[in-house]
C-alpha cells in the first residue's frame, strides 16, 4: 500500500510532491491538462468547427477574463492561508463607483483612465479593509469577507440606486473594443495579469513569504516575517485584481451595476482549488488556477454549443468536477 493511500489527513489531499515552486508545471498539472484536453475533444466531436474556431476560442477567453483575473489574486490569498468571499461584491462596487455620473464626468475631463483608476482604487481599498479585519482585527477570513460581501454589495446598490449605470465615455469603450493582432484587449490584459501573478508568486520574496505565511504563520513570524502586514498586502492584491476584473466587466457590458459579479466568489474559489491550490494554505499554483478557470469556461461553452438544458448542465457539472479531481489525484499519486 502506498504511503499516500495511508495518509489519514482526510480533509486535505496529499499535497503534490516534488518541485514545491511552480515550474511551468505541465507535468504537475497533468490531470488538469488531461481534463481540459478531454473537454476539447468532446467539444470538437459534438460541435466540430463551431468549437474549434478561433472565434470560439476567443469567446471562451473573453468569458474567462473576469473569473480568471480574480482567480489570480485569489490564488495568493488562499496560498497565504486565507479566503475571500467578497470578490463578487467588490467587483460590483468597483464597477458602480467607476461609472457614477461623477466619475464619468471626471473621465470626460481628464481621460478615461480615471474610470480605470477609480475601479482599481476602490477594489484595492476594499481588499485592504478585508486584510486589516483579518490581520489586525483577527476575524476569521470567512466571516470578515462575508461581512464585506454584504456591505459592499449593499453600498453598490445604494450608490447606483439599483440602476444600471451606462458608460458613455467613448475613449473607454474604444480602447477596450480594440483587437490588436486579432486578440481582444481584455484577453491581453488577462494574459498579462496571469504572467505577472506567476512571476510574483514564484520568483519574488513576496511570493516566498506568501507560501511561508500560509504554510505555518507562527513559524513565519518567528523567522522574522511581518505576517500581519503581509496578510494585508495579500488581500489588497486580491482587491486590486477585483478592480481590474470590474474594468473588464465594464468594458464587456459597457455598464456598471450592483448585480455584477453575483456568485463570482464560488466560481473563483472552485477554479483555484481545482487547480491544486490548498484551501488550508501554503501551496498554490497560478498555472493550476489558469487551468481550473479554462476548464470551467470550456465546460460552459461546450454545454452552450450543444444546447443542453441548465438542469442537465448542473448535474453534469457536478459529476465532471468530481471526475476531474479524482483523476488529478490519482495521477499525482502515481507519480510519487
Amino acid at each position: 500500500m502506498s504511503a499516500s493511500l495511508q495518509d489519514p489527513s482526510l480533509t486535505v489531499p496529499a499535497p503534490p510532491k516534488g518541485e514545491p515552486r511552480g515550474s511551468i508545471g505541465i507535468a504537475r498539472n497533468l490531470g488538469l491538462v488531461i481534463a481540459l484536453v478531454v473537454l476539447c475533444i468532446v467539444g470538437v466531436v459534438t460541435a466540430g468547427d463551431r468549437f474549434a474556431s478561433t472565434d470560439n476560442v476567443l469567446t471562451i477567453l473573453r468569458l474567462a477574463t473576469v473569473t480568471g483575473i480574480v482567480a489570480v489574486g485569489m490564488t495568493f490569498v488562499i496560498t497565504g492561508g486565507g479566503i475571500d468571499l467578497s470578490v463578487g461584491a467588490i467587483v460590483a462596487l468597483s464597477s458602480v463607483w467607476a461609472t457614477t455620473t461623477g466619475t464619468q464626468a471626471m473621465a470626460d475631463n481628464i481621460g478615461w483612465v480615471a474610470m480605470v483608476f477609480s475601479a482599481i482604487l476602490v477594489g484595492a481599498a476594499c481588499g485592504a479593509i478585508n486584510g486589516l479585519l483579518v490581520a489586525y482585527g483577527r476575524i476569521v477570513p470567512f466571516i470578515a469577507t462575508l461581512a464585506m460581501l454584504a456591505s459592499a454589495r449593499g453600498l453598490a446598490e445604494v450608490i447606483a440606486d439599483r440602476k444600471t449605470q451606462i458608460i458613455r465615455n467613448q475613449g473607454f469603450t474604444d480602447f477596450f473594443a480594440a483587437e490588436p493582432l486579432g486578440i481582444p484587449v481584455i484577453v491581453i490584459i488577462f494574459a498579462l495579469v496571469t504572467v505577472a501573478g506567476w512571476f510574483l508568486l514564484n520568483r519574488t520574496t513576496f511570493g516566498r513569504r506568501t507560501f511561508a505565511v500560509g504554510g505555518n504563520p507562527e513559524a513565519a513570524r518567528l523567522a522574522g516575517i511581518k505576517v500581519q502586514r503581509h496578510t494585508v498586502y495579500l488581500y489588497t492584491l486580491l482587491g486590486t485584481t477585483c478592480g481590474i476584473a470590474a474594468v473588464m466587466l465594464m468594458s464587456r457590458t459597457t455598464t456598471g451595476s450592483s448585480t455584477h459579479g453575483t456568485l463570482l466568489e464560488l466560481d473563483v474559489i472552485a477554479a483555484v482549488v481545482i487547480g491544486g491550490t490548498l484551501l488550508s494554505g501554503g501551496r498554490g499554483t497560478i498555472i493550476g488556477t489558469l487551468f481550473g478557470v479554462l476548464i470551467f469556461m470550456t465546460l460552459t461553452n461546450v454545454f452552450t454549443l450543444n444546447n443542453l438544458s441548465t438542469s442537465t448542465q448542473n448535474v453534469a457539472k457536478g459529476v465532471i468536477i468530481v471526475i476531474a479531481v479524482l483523476l488529478q489525484q490519482r495521477i499525482a499519486n502515481r507519480k510519487t
Binding site: 469567446t59 473573453r62 439599483r162 466587466l249 457590458t253 448585480t259 455584477h260 460552459t300 438544458s309 441548465t310
Partner: protein, 321 residues
C-alpha cells in the same frame, strides 16, 4: 399543478390563421434568457421552445439560462460565431447586454429584445416589452379604486429581487399610481422571486404591520410563500394583489376564498412572441393583422388586472408556477 406543462404552454402559444405560418426558408434562432429559477422565467423558456416546435422551418438553439451577464454575453458571442439568423434575447440586464447585441446586429443578425429593454435603438430590430412600470400602475390603480378615496389605508408591498431595475420600475409605478389618490406605501420588503423568500419576507412584514388594508406582491411565484405566511399568521383583514398572473393565483381568485382578490398579468409568452417575430423578420414577412409592411420596432404588452370578474378570460393562457 397536476396538469402537465405542455398542455398549458401549448394553449398559450398559437399559430395565427394566416399564410404567415406556411413553411418558409429555414431560420436558425438563438435564444438566451436569465436562469429559469422561478416559474415565470421557466414558463418564458418553455413557451419559446414550444413556439419554435410548432414550425418545421425554425431551429431554436437554447443557451443555458444565466443571471451572470458576463456569461450571457459569451452566449450571444457564441451565437454570432455560429452565424445564426436571429437572436431572441431576454437579457438579465438590458443595459449590460446592449453592446454585444449591437455587435450581433452589426454582424447582420436580427436581434429581438424581450422584456428588459436595451440601452440603444441600434441593438435590436424589434423589442417586445413587458410593462413593468405599467404593472405597478395597474396594481396601484386597483388599490385606489378599491379604497374609494379613503386616505388612511395601510398599503404594503412585497417586491421581487430589489437590485433588478425591473423591480424598481414596478415599485415606481405602484408608488406613482397610489400618489394620484393620496395613498402611499407604508411597509415594503423585498423577496427574491422564490417561494421560500416570499414566506420569509411576508412573515416579517406581517409582524411589522399589525393591520394591513392592501398588500401588493410583485410575483406570483414568491406569492405561494406569501400566502403560506399569511395563513400561518392567521391574517385575513386585507386584500392582496398578485403579480405576473400564474394559474394557481388565478384559481385562487376564482375561488374567492382567500385574501387574494386580483393579480396583474405580466405575460409569460413574450419570448414566444419574440420567436414568432424573429421568424417573420428573417423570412421577410409582415405582421398580417397590420397594414404596415414591416414588423414594428416595438411592442409593449399590456399589464391587465385580473379579478374574479374577468379571470376566465386569462386563466387558459396563464402559466403554472
Amino acid at each position: 399543478t397536476n396538469s402537465s406543462s405542455d398542455d398549458d404552454t401549448s394553449a398559450s402559444v398559437t399559430k395565427s390563421n394566416t399564410d404567415n405560418d406556411k413553411s418558409g426558408d429555414k431560420v436558425v434562432i438563438g435564444f438566451s434568457a436569465p436562469a429559469a429559477d422561478h416559474g415565470w422565467m421557466g414558463a418564458i423558456t418553455k413557451a419559446a421552445v414550444a413556439q419554435a416546435d410548432k414550425y418545421d422551418d425554425v431551429e431554436l438553439k437554447v443557451a443555458e439560462g444565466t443571471n451572470d451577464v458576463n456569461l450571457q454575453i459569451s452566449q450571444v458571442e457564441t451565437f454570432i460565431n455560429d452565424k445564426v439568423d436571429a437572436i431572441v434575447l431576454l437579457p438579465f440586464d438590458g443595459a449590460a447586454m446592449t453592446s454585444v447585441a449591437r455587435k450581433a446586429m452589426d454582424a447582420g443578425i436580427t436581434v429581438i429584445n424581450v422584456d428588459r429593454e436595451f440601452d440603444s435603438p441600434f441593438a435590436a430590430r424589434t423589442t417586445v416589452l413587458g410593462d413593468n412600470y405599467g404593472m405597478g400602475v395597474s396594481a396601484g390603480t386597483f388599490v385606489c379604486e378599491d379604497a374609494k378615496g379613503a386616505k388612511d389605508k395601510v398599503v404594503t408591498e412585497i417586491a421581487g429581487i430589489d437590485s433588478l431595475p425591473l423591480t424598481q420600475e414596478r415599485s415606481k409605478g405602484f408608488k406613482d399610481a397610489l400618489k394620484s389618490c393620496g395613498l402611499d406605501v407604508d411597509n415594503r420588503v423585498a423577496a427574491e422571486f422564490t417561494v421560500e423568500s416570499g414566506e420569509e419576507a411576508a412573515s416579517n412584514l406581517l409582524q411589522a404591520a399589525p393591520k394591513i388594508d392592501y398588500l401588493w406582491n410583485h410575483d406570483d411565484d414568491q406569492g405561494v410563500g406569501v400566502l403560506a405566511a399569511i395563513k400561518n399568521a392567521n391574517r385575513d383583514e386585507f386584500t392582496m394583489i398578485g403579480g405576473a398572473g400564474s394559474a394557481d393565483v388565478m384559481d385562487a381568485i376564482k375561488a374567492g376564498n382567500s385574501v387574494l382578490k386580483a393579480t396583474v398579468v405580466y405575460p409569460s409568452t413574450q419570448a414566444a412572441d419574440g420567436v414568432k417575430l424573429a421568424r417573420l423578420l428573417v423570412q421577410n414577412k409582415s405582421m398580417s393583422d397590420l397594414a404596415e409592411i414591416e414588423v414594428p420596432r416595438q411592442l409593449k404588452l399590456a399589464a391587465p388586472v385580473v379579478t374574479k370578474d374577468n379571470v376566465d378570460t386569462y386563466l387558459p393562457s396563464a402559466f403554472r408556477s
